[in-house]
Amino acid sequence: MATTSFDRPSTRPDEIHTLLTGVERYNPQKAGVLEDYLERQCANSDPLSNHDLMANLALLKMYQFNPDLVNLDAIRCILVKALISQSQSDFNLCLYLLSDDICKDASISKLLVLRDYLEGAQFDKFWKEIYGAEDDDEGSVVDDIAGFDSGLRRLIIGEITSTYQTVAVKAVETMVSLNEEAVLRLCKEYNWPVDGSGIITLPLKSENKAKNTVIKENVKFEQLTKIISAANGI
């Protein structure tokens, strides 16, 4: 099932695909096309189809070659999308194409801090940093990205289900920044039984099943052909 970020997403139009696979990806006049595509990705809240890593990397490469075209807002959007992507290396791949100067920008550096919290699993600090104080007037750094919250929560829940077999409701509350009622609703949605003392039992899957395994060797039939034929007098 594993579709990596490098596969062509179903929502990528042919026009973009041809652009990416040819030499036109170096044409600075096409930057606008990729930026529009990025906007469409941001407006799409369906997590399965709203992230086209390769297209975004192509846009970043164009910025690298043409510093005068750099659009910090587009870079911000790309990084936010990469932050909540299923594949943890996406953010880094985007970073490699930037430069020190770009990283000094306020919103970009904030994203770097957020990313540290997220990857270090320090979720409480993360939520605090994103939405800041209640009376903060400035727009959040994750504005205009549809489906950010739900995508983020999906990611965190994915991690929880991989690490824990049983977990306290309170712990989940802090991690996904939802109140108790919302968490219980979530458990119902995913069909996780919650017992009396507020402990959720998570389903066992390959990631959170701690079982000692022995990797047995795999003997292929071809290795035995010579022996078998000799045994049969061939």
Binding site: A2, T4, F6, D7, V23, Y26, L53, M54, L57, K61, Q64, F65, P67, S87, Q88, S89, N92, L93, L95, Y96, L97, S99, D100, D101, D116, E119, G120, A121, Q122, E159, I160, S162, T163, Y164, Q165, T166, V167, A168, I199, E207, N208, K209, A210, K211, N212, T213, V214, I215, K216, E217, V219, Q223, L224, K226, I227, A230
Partner: protein, 560 residues
């Protein structure tokens, strides 16, 4: 055959030609007296030692006759020997003088100039003018190859073709580094750079590589080869010729290199689509330097993408190959270059293995232990010391990164303060590495238990329990990597667990599981069974022949 002496007929008659071309190229020095020019030219040609003149004449003849085998000898052996003997610290004879010896053959001179400049880059220090001229020479060469009406009638040995592409990219990288060191450039150099912004322009370099690839239809050929289609048909008129095909192929590898130098690792790996990395007969194996380069960059790209398992696999593969074939390459002039790359790969492998512990092949493991055992211990302990060691090894082994654009010459101070690109890449990598270091540190503790209480572990590790909880989640996150499964697309892969240690948390209790590799006895049994079967067959055969011989009367004895 190679020691044949050629009459120096050409040299006497073509001095005028030499004088003219000499005058034309020395515009900077102004007009010289014509007689002086002729004398200078004569002196120049005469100063070329006899073995070198013979070599050049041979080379010219073989080139004209498309004698690839002899060319290979000329290029790989004679050129190197003559360089060591006569031109260890000086440049080869000026192209103008050589022109006299070969009747001003344009193509030969372009190829000769490529060698001439390559030599300057490797043994001497290239000035800005040399860099410009070398670029123009490459433009001439590639123009001729790419823009002729039909495929050109030239054949060169693969080694030479690879070296052309390799050197082209090397000079490009050298130029980018040179011009970005603005503070070290004199005012007139900066003026020259500003006025000639098309020289070693990133787009031009990319254009050459993409054009070579397109002209040779190399991707179509590779795909046809993979799927069992008609390769010849896919190749087209140009791609059928070995010159174009190999140049196209080497350009793919060249592109991988350029992408890595610019920090675009995904594109680098995507460029290798259908280049069968697992195939031991693939085209890149024909030139050792190419073979090593491919794996170096593939491994590096995987390393930067966080796919440590894949990086380790690539490096182990190529390092085993290098150590096994080391004895055959002792006298090759590429030996030093290949060795240096191998050493760098060991350093990168040490980093990768420390960040994502996994068993490696016995020989590699021993060598790694010898060379980097100390550093590996420190890296696995984590903390700031580990990060320092990683930085050190990384800066030793990483490719030379470049900025695709010239610095802003108008703002010299700002330009000289921008960080070198490799420091930027290192910074990002270190961020990843810092997080990844949780794996070796936690693993060394978890390995000793089957169940462990969270609080107890946190006291062992001297950490806050909440902090430890987070660390455990990070561990879980990071031990899942994408692993390449042999598909033609190097970016694809399956998500597997990269460590042998796994765990699950039940509230505050950690349950630890280890996966170990079972004893492999099938291979041993099969091999020995086959051996004894061969032995038995052997004895039976001998027995049969012995019986047959005993029954036959000896022919000679009957005739007496």
């Amino acid at each position: 055959m190679y020691q044949e002496n050629y009459d120096d007929v050409e040299f006497g008659g073509d001095v005028d030609l030499v004088a003219n071309s000499y005058a034309n190229s020395n515009l900077v020095e102004g007009e010289l007296d014509e007689e002086e020019l002729i004398m200078q030219a004569q002196a120049g040609v005469q100063s070329i030692p006899e073995p070198v003149r013979n070599f050049l004449a041979n080379l010219h003849r073989n080139l004209a006759n498309c004698n690839v085998g002899d060319l290979a000898y000329n290029y790989e052996n004679q050129f190197v020997r003559l360089t060591d003997k006569f031109y260890g610290k000086a440049p080869w004879p000026e192209p103008q003088y050589v022109a006299a010896l070969v009747g001003d053959d344009g193509l030969f001179l372009t190829l000769y100039r490529e060698l001439y400049y390559r030599h300057i880059y490797s043994r001497l220090h290239p000035s800005l003018e040399v860099r410009f001229r070398s670029f123009e020479n490459y433009c001439d060469l590639f123009n001729y190859i790419l823009n002729s009406d039909g495929p050109i009638e030239l054949e060169l040995p693969n080694q030479w073709l690879w070296d052309i592409v390799d050197e082209f990219i090397y000079q490009f990288q050298s130029f980018c580094t040179h011009r970005s060191r603005v503070s070290k450039r004199s005012a007139e150099e900066i003026e020259l750079l500003k006025e000639n912004s098309q020289v070693w322009n990133t787009y031009s370099v990319l254009n050459v590589l993409y054009s070579l690839i397109q002209k040779s239809s190399i991707y179509e050929q590779l795909e046809a080869g993979q799927q069992g289609g008609d390769v010849i048909e896919a190749a087209g008129d140009f791609g059928v010729r070995p010159l174009y095909k190999m140049l196209g192929y080497f350009s793919i590898i060249g592109l991988v290199r350029v992408h890595c130098m610019l920090g675009d690792y995904t594109l680098a790996l995507q460029t290798l689509q259908n280049v069968e990395l697992g195939n031991s007969r693939a085209l890149f194996t024909r030139v050792t330097a190419c073979h090593v380069t491919v794996y170096y960059y593939v491994g590096f790209a995987y390393l930067m993408m966080g796919r440590y398992a894949d990086a380790i696999q690539s490096y182990v593969h190529i390092l085993t190959f290098v150590s096994r074939t080391r004895q055959y390459h002792q006298r090759s002039y590429q030996f030093d270059a290949v060795n240096k790359k191998a050493e760098q790969m060991y350093a990168l492998l040490a980093i990768a293995v420390s960040l994502s512990p996994v068993r490696v092949d016995e020989n590699i493991h021993t060598y790694l232990r010898e060379k980097y055992g100390d550093q590996q211990h420190k890296m696995q302990r984590g903390g700031e010391e580990a990060v320092e060691i990683i930085s050190e090894l990384y800066l030793y082994a990483c490719p030379k990164f470049i900025m695709p654009n010239p610095p802003s010459y108008s703002d010299i101070e700002a330009a000289s303060n921008t960080a070198e690109p490799q420091n930027f890449q290192l910074k990002i990598f270190l961020r990843e590495a810092r997080l990844q270091l949780v794996i070796p540190t936690l693993r060394s503790f978890l390995r000793l238990y089957t169940t462990m209480d969270l609080d107890r572990l946190s006291t062992f590790l001297d950490m806050d329990p909440l902090e430890l909880r987070n660390q455990l989640m990070v561990y879980k996150q990071r031990c899942r990597q994408i692993k390449w499964a042999g598909t033609p697309d190097l970016l694809q892969g399956e998500i597997t667990s990269a460590t042998d240690l796994d765990f699950a948390l039940q509230e505050d209790m950690i349950f630890i599981a280890e996966s170990r590799v079972g004893r492999r006895y099938a291979d041993w049994f099969i091999r020995n069974t086959n051996k004894i079967q061969d032995l038995v067959n052997n004895i039976e055969n001998r027995q049969k022949t012995a019986i047959a011989n005993a029954g036959k009367p000896k022919a000679e004895e009957n005739n007496t």
